[in-house]
Symmetry: C2
Subunit: 312 residues, 2 copies
Amino acid sequence: MSAATQDHYTPANMPDSRPEASYSINLTTGAHVRQACRYGVHTTTTAGLAKTFIQANLIILPSRYASDFRLLCARNPVPCPLIAESEEVGRWDAVKSWISGLNGHDVLGSVDIRRDAPKYMVYKDNKLLKSHCDDLTAEWTEDHVAFVIGCSFSFESALSEAALSPRHVIMNRTVPMYRTNIPLCPAGVFTGSTYVVSMRPYKKSDIENVRTITRSFAMTHGEPIAWSWDAIARLGIKDIDIPDWGTAPLAGDGGRFGALFGNDDDVPVFWGCGVTPQEAVMRADLKGTIMGHAPGHMLVLDCRDWDIVTKS
Amino acid sequence: MSAATQDHYTPANMPDSRPEASYSINLTTGAHVRQACRYGVHTTTTAGLAKTFIQANLIILPSRYASDFRLLCARNPVPCPLIAESEEVGRWDAVKSWISGLNGHDVLGSVDIRRDAPKYMVYKDNKLLKSHCDDLTAEWTEDHVAFVIGCSFSFESALSEAALSPRHVIMNRTVPMYRTNIPLCPAGVFTGSTYVVSMRPYKKSDIENVRTITRSFAMTHGEPIAWSWDAIARLGIKDIDIPDWGTAPLAGDGGRFGALFGNDDDVPVFWGCGVTPQEAVMRADLKGTIMGHAPGHMLVLDCRDWDIVTKS
């Protein structure tokens, strides 16, 4: 066992058996984070944990909506990159994946999807039932199917390595996200939805580098879908200062775009965002119990950033 | 050999050896049509030929653009469904395919991509060099890659079988096609392009049936992307009476929508269209020699409509 995995959590060293204050927490792998969440040791956001391990969005639906949701992802792979799903209806302990070179076990080995994210949201008949609850053991049924969807953390690491850290990362904020008027291709019950995008400002002269670096991350939104000031209107974003989720570019520092637009020649660069499929699910007004991770409280996988990079 | 294949073309019974007037042409399979095109026997549109055999769009690019084009299709699978591509750079005689259950040989067995469509278009440095030429033997180089892209003929047959024949089929016209303002997700050199859509009018009460029937044709655009009169404005279509390609809905019969909108409760239904990737290629202003089939003069494959239907 390597030094990096010696702090691995097991039920034996969870809070029940040792006082919490005595822990030296070292969540360096996806399996570490999942076990720490499973046993209530880690309960906050997953930002910065288990670097290079892929963090993912989680959407859990009644089985009758599964084929339509799968098709929604297939038809809209940029905002809805489906990495894996329950191996069978009702399975919370194993996933399957169609990603080239990965099978379900590579994506998620030992897992309890009901407990392995730090916090969850539960909706009943499209109304919020529980916010930021610790687990889904009471709500999960034999009829549920879990879907694991890529998020942009992976390419942010790659950008940072190329000295192109996104501004919100440097400033320790949440990336601003916006609803757009770009329609998703409908799929069955999922109609009338639009792209949600995340925004990172970059100098015009850096945009081709930023595109190239993020291009190969096909399972985590890939290259930007739009860039430039003109793009704001084209995407139907009403006010770039007022994101629908995340931290406003303006907040705190005064001056238009003071916080996230640091340079006069910065322009907004927009990527497909994993909030898109969540919005599509809410918009579809589904019956029954729908579940997902709480914002920022992701499911951390066993596969690494480089496992899902597309070779061109 | 079955009765249906006894009129199969071989070089021995081509025009050189027998007078053309003596032929009893019976192009019942993809291989028949391709051979008839290859030897100059069939030189007109492929509409109605070799029923249930998939007809496809053809785009041929210099190899340096191949990975970007492949990514464009992967990011925009609804308007750009990539069925197969040259097995290696420079290969005009074999394709590979990633479609589940199909390999290159199942898609196209014996093929000469340079000669097996009835008519071709050739562009040099983004300018039209040859229109409706018979073959590409002079232009094809060892650096070219051919891409085979689905078209909507397949689902039209399925609609007709369900007594939902598209109006333009009944009236023996070309489906009307429109540019939209819906952006494609960019990929490398392919930026700034938008969806092209085809339009078929249906009664409101038939739309859910039409959606269900076309949904499983994932490799030939699948279910509609928009429907209703409101959709015209949402897609940015300026005038439904003036398509950018195909036959105007109005033409011939007088009265607004007289020709293609037969009932008062008909509404326009829009699908992703295979002209989209052609438009994206033209918009990218590529250098070198680009080739494709001439409109309506498709490459007919060996696989059948039901081979590429998605099981849900």
